[in-house]
């Protein structure tokens, strides 16, 4: 019997997993877009983005639009690898 792979605790949190799921599907996404899709509060989203950034799972860049700063997030190679491992471990866990 194959032992269960441990689920990455950084990803096994609802909002962080939601952020990673959005970013895995796109080239880059702005803070307001992530907020709209995850329906999270700005403060909570900001904290979770910081955790994913500190872990090297995502990269964050800031640019200036017409008159306001725009924060863009994109998934890193490490983040892509960790997300794939998480999904594989989830597959084992759910036997799918």
């Amino acid at each position: 019997m194959t032992p269960f792979r441990e689920l990455d605790p950084l990803l096994h949190s609802q909002l962080r997993l939601a952020i990673m799921s959005v970013l895995i599907s796109v080239d880059s996404a702005g803070f307001s877009y992530l907020r709209e899709k995850t329906e999270a509060t700005a403060g909570n989203l900001s904290v979770q983005i910081g955790k994913l950034k500190d872990a090297g799972y995502i990269s964050v860049s800031k640019s200036f639009g017409e008159s306001y700063p725009q924060t863009m997030c994109s998934i890193t190679d490490l983040g892509r690898k960790k997300f794939a491992e998480y999904v594989a471990a989830l597959g084992d866990y759910l036997k799918i």
Partner: protein, 198 residues
Amino acid sequence: MENEEKMMTGEESLSVITEMINKTRVSVTQSSFHLLFWGWLIFVCSLSEFILWKFVGWTNSWYVWFFVIPGTVVSLIYGFTRGKKEKVFTYGTSIYVWTWIAFLFASIVFFIVYPLETGSVAKYMLLMAAIPLFISGVILKFRPLMWGAGAFWFLALVAHFGGETVSGLAMPVAMIVGYLIPGYLLRKRGSHDTFQGA
């Protein structure tokens, strides 16, 4: 999603992943603006060139194509200013934008090596323009654009094998079929100049 450290069951995790991926779809804003802008500009230029050459007898009727230069500037400024407001860039959006920019680069090189006064360029331009049009149709899953690209290729053959009169009308007809009709359909289907594919 208010609880920042909420732990989930495996089923909940799978549900979050599925929900978020489904929410993230190819979104190409501005697409109808550029199709309609270029459709009308090229339609007017190509038809004017044909009428001035055929009925007025002006041999330098190709001068009308200089209107494409300010048109390119307007299109780039519009695209750049709108692009800075984009909240997300999907892979589809990036491919869509860069395919058209690649077409712009190819067109610049083409006009350097093949100046307008050397003769009709319609067949070559239709041949090239059909490629980003077809790819746009695939990305947006919007068949009128793909049919438009098919019409471009067919009209490139018409421009090559048809007589001078038929060749002169190939470009304005192509603009109606490939840019204007799909452009208006796209604008009707999308909301606020944004169209979402699958």
